[in-house]
């Protein structure tokens, strides 16, 4: 955590409205908030960890079918979304820096751009989901996955049952990730309102920092989801 404002923080202690009653000093409050977010992210790792575990077991069991199913999802859109999220992580870092250095306009701009990128991501995700609906690749009664060849095995076709397992995992994993994005957008909307009101100072901008941590985490989840779901056996 790049934070060198401890000295100024002590200075502002006497009249710092953001210092909650049960903390002795702003530094302690900041450390607590930051540790709290890191601990929360550890629980999130375990939350997605269960899904990754299920995914990896099935992928090992039914590799060919998973590769065939993976080929039907749109790699171009997935790659675009990866780029979008990486850019949004950059704007989050900018927002934190702007808050540290009291650049209010830059802070507000960065927050807005981050949210826009988040919305672009969700929009593209929606297009991908729509494609899957149209192609009857959504698990359930209308699921169909006939005669899809297994990559690298000419003449063999994927088992539709196993492909349905892949798509179940695809929708749950990307769906929960999207839910995290939506929650992130809510957090950033609140940050934006606070920034608009000029609440953040170089002494106190903890919400920007820990909101940023959350956003980065959600990005990192995607960085793992993208190769796992989109790039199975994609070599030409």
């Amino acid at each position: 955590m790049p934070d060198s404002s401890a000295a100024t923080g002590l200075h502002a202690e006497a009249h710092n409205p953001a210092l909650l009653h049960h903390f002795a000093e702003p530094q302690q409050q900041r450390d607590a908030a930051s540790l709290g977010m890191w601990v929360f992210l550890a629980t999130e790792v375990m939350f997605f960890g269960g899904l990754f575990c299920a995914y990896l077991i099935y992928r090992r069991l039914y590799f060919g079918d998973f590769a065939a199913a993976s080929k039907t999802i749109n790699m171009g859109l997935g790659a675009t979304n990866t780029a979008v999220l990486i850019c949004s992580s950059l704007t989050v870092v900018l927002a934190v820096w702007a808050a540290q250095t009291a650049r209010r306009t830059l802070l507000i701009t960065s927050l807005i751009i981050t949210m826009l990128l988040g919305l672009v991501f969700l929009g593209i995700k929606g297009i991908e989901y729509r494609e899957k609906f149209v192609e009857h690749h959504v698990p359930g009664a209308s699921f169909s996955f006939d005669k899809v060849p297994i990559p690298g095995h000419p003449g063999q076709y994927a088992d539709p049952h196993h492909a349905q397992l892949f798509f179940s995992l695809y929708f749950v994993m990307t769906g929960l990730h999207a839910l995290h994005m939506i929650i992130g957008l809510g957090i950033f909307l609140w940050l934006l309102i606070m920034a608009w009101k000029g609440r953040f100072t170089p002494e106190w901008h903890t919400p920007v920092e820990i909101g940023g941590l959350y956003w980065h985490f959600v990005d990192i989840i995607w960085i793992y989801l993208f190769p796992l779901l989109y790039l199975i056996d994609r070599h030409p």
């Binding site: 909650l20 009653h21 049960h22 002795a24 302690q28 450390d31 607590a32 540790l35 709290g36 601990v39 929360f40 550890a42 629980t43 999130e44 375990m46 939350f47 997605f48 960890g49 269960g50 899904l51 575990c53 299920a54 077991i57 099935y58 069991l61 039914y62 698990p139 359930g140 009664a141 088992d159 049952h161 196993h162 349905q164 397992l165 179940s168 995992l169 929708f171 749950v172 929960l176």
Partner: protein, 544 residues
């Protein structure tokens, strides 16, 4: 003494909203106390019906389907809505900040949020129960839960999901508080062992609960959205569900027992007037239990079709997890050795805990042994084993802690004579209920059967068990009655009725809203009873 006039956390504000919107950890602890007591009696009611059904070999009190729902709802309510929040959310909430000299938990509003999540989950669970309930057992095994049963799986799953977040947030609050909010001088090696136990518990809550959360989300998705994750028709693996489920639900046992171990450590040190023997061993054995506890889950699945090699490894690891528990038991008994022991009610519960937890733990080793496990799996032996841990261990610890800290919580003394009687009744009732179940299980009575008319020779032991459950029920009602009574009629408690060490006793009873009138500075080791007792040895610190 003008004690009644003193401003404290109970009389500072009045009115419903001062409670429902409070961020004071002590008030939230009381909110939890009321809510978990409510769920305890609901779960107990189901247990009573189960025991009544088993009084006779024929299935004559309830239908088979109803019986399935009864033991399912008993398990779900007791595990998720009583045992898991019991000590951490009530005693832990009240005591963690006080023991380390903090004004509150690190995130008071998140603490309140966690209580609301618990209540939302609880209301969903109540609604689920009143509109049909669930019949899968508390374990939700696929594919029965995902593809076959017609009961309210989705609603129960969501209720537990929400309650799980309440548990996660409590653990998060404790970890951050213990790391960041300790008073000056309160180093890690001076922490009360109650705090170490809660720290270890919180680690499990944080790392285990999300896994069951996502697992029951998958079950709910499978039922509601017709995805197929565990569906064998699609090539899905029901065993994967069991692995994910027990990855949390075995460590969850330690969520329930570790805080009780913390409570018992405090009580034993206080009532034998000695520093706890082997402080750092007791402290690190809590952490060891938290770590090893994550590596033994598959001993619940020895007969489910696992590879023999995996089963061997899990059997060995299950033996390993007994080592830190045994370290604790040995250290507690070594603490008692040559201590000046006082037999007050909290200590009676602690003694009960020691004996019953040891029996529960040793029978756990039976179950960890592959050969015996295959013989007694899914029999009453297993039921008896985990009730010795959950009820004989966790609930005994909880009641002992409630008695120990009740003067601090309420500012009133409970009636000691009644309390000792209740402790005795609980101990007798408990053993009468569950010891026969060991025998039943070893003789081969399967669990979850509502009708055993083809094996009527089991009736006598079942009658004993049901009789014991009635006694146990009386034993549980008594403390509730005299605690309530003492709030109105009890004698005012002094600040430190037990002459106990620990920061929570160095502040008035009940404590002021910010816990301490001035910030404490710690210059002594935990459990400095030799020092405490040195100046006035002739005075025996007993509250009557």
């Amino acid at each position: 003494m003008p004690q009644p006039e003193r401003e404290n956390y109970l009389n500072k504000h009045y009115g419903v909203w001062s409670w429902l919107l409070t961020t004071d950890h002590k008030r939230i602890a009381l909110l939890y106390l009321i809510s978990i007591t409510f769920f305890f009696f609901i779960g107990g009611f189901f247990a009573l019906l189960i025991r009544l059904e088993l009084l006779t070999p024929a299935g004559d009190l309830v239908q088979a389907d109803t019986y399935n729902k009864l033991f399912t709802m008993h398990g779900m309510v007791m595990v998720f809505f009583f045992l898991i929040p019991s000590i951490p959310a009530v005693l832990g909430n009240f005591l963690v900040p006080m023991m380390i000299g903090a004004k509150d938990l690190a995130f008071p509003r998140i603490n309140l949020l966690s209580w609301y999540l618990y209540i939302i989950g609880g209301v969903m669970m109540l609604h689920c129960m009143l509109t049909g309930g669930v019949d899968t057992g508390w374990t939700f095994y696929a594919p029965f839960a995902t593809n076959f049963t017609n009961t309210k799986i989705v609603e129960a799953a969501l209720a537990i999901f929400v309650a799980g977040f309440s548990s996660i947030l409590t653990g998060l609050n404790f970890v951050v508080t213990i790391h960041r909010m300790r008073a000056p001088g309160m180093t890690w090696s001076r922490l009360p062992l109650f705090i170490w136990a809660h720290y270890a518990t919180s680690i499990i809550q944080l790392l285990g609960t999300p896994v069951i959360a996502v697992t029951i989300v998958l079950v709910a998705c499978e039922r509601a959205l017709h995805l197929g994750i565990f569906d064998p028709k699609l090539g899905g693996d029901p065993l994967l569900f069991q692995h994910l489920f027990w990855f949390y639900s075995h460590p969850a046992v330690y969520i329930m027992i570790l805080p009780a171990m913390g409570v018992v450590t405090e009580i034993i040190a206080c009532f034998s007037r000695k520093r706890i023997f082997g402080y750092s061993f007791v402290a690190f054995s809590s952490i060891a239990i938290a770590v090893f506890g994550f590596l033994v889950w598959a001993h619940h699945m020895f007969v489910a079709g696992m590879s023999v090699y995996a089963a061997l490894v899990f059997s060995l690891l299950s033996y390993a997890v007994a080592v830190p528990s045994a370290i604790k038991v040995f250290n507690w008994t070594a603490t008692l050795y040559k201590g000046s022991i006082h037999y007050d009610a909290p200590m009676l519960y602690a003694f009960g805990f020691l004996g019953l937890f040891t029996i529960g733990g040793l029978t756990g080793l039976f179950l960890a042994a592959l050969g015996i496990n295959v013989h007694v799996t899914d029999t009453y032996f297993v039921v008896a084993h985990f009730h010795y841990i959950m009820v004989g261990g966790a609930v005994m610890g909880y009641l002992g802690g409630m008695h120990f800290w009740w003067p601090k919580i309420s500012g009133k003394l409970y009636p000691e004579g009644w309390a000792r009687l209740a402790a005795l009744i609980v101990f007798i009732g408990f053993n009468l209920t569950f010891f026969p179940q060991f025998l039943l299980g070893y003789m081969g009575m399967p669990r979850r059967y509502y009708d055993y008319s083809h094996m009527p020779e089991f009736q006598i032991l079942n009658v004993l068990s049901t009789a014991g459950a009635t006694v146990l029920g009386v034993g549980y009602l008594l403390p509730m009655i005299y605690f309530l009574w003492s709030m109105r009629y009890g004698k005012p408690a002094p600040d430190n009725p037990w002459n106990a060490a620990g920061l929570e006793w160095k502040t008035p009873s009940p404590p002021p809203t910010f816990n301490f009138d001035e910030e404490p500075v710690v210059t002594w080791e935990a459990y400095n009873y030799e020092q405490l007792d040195a100046p006035s040895k002739e005075e025996v610190p007993v509250a009557r």
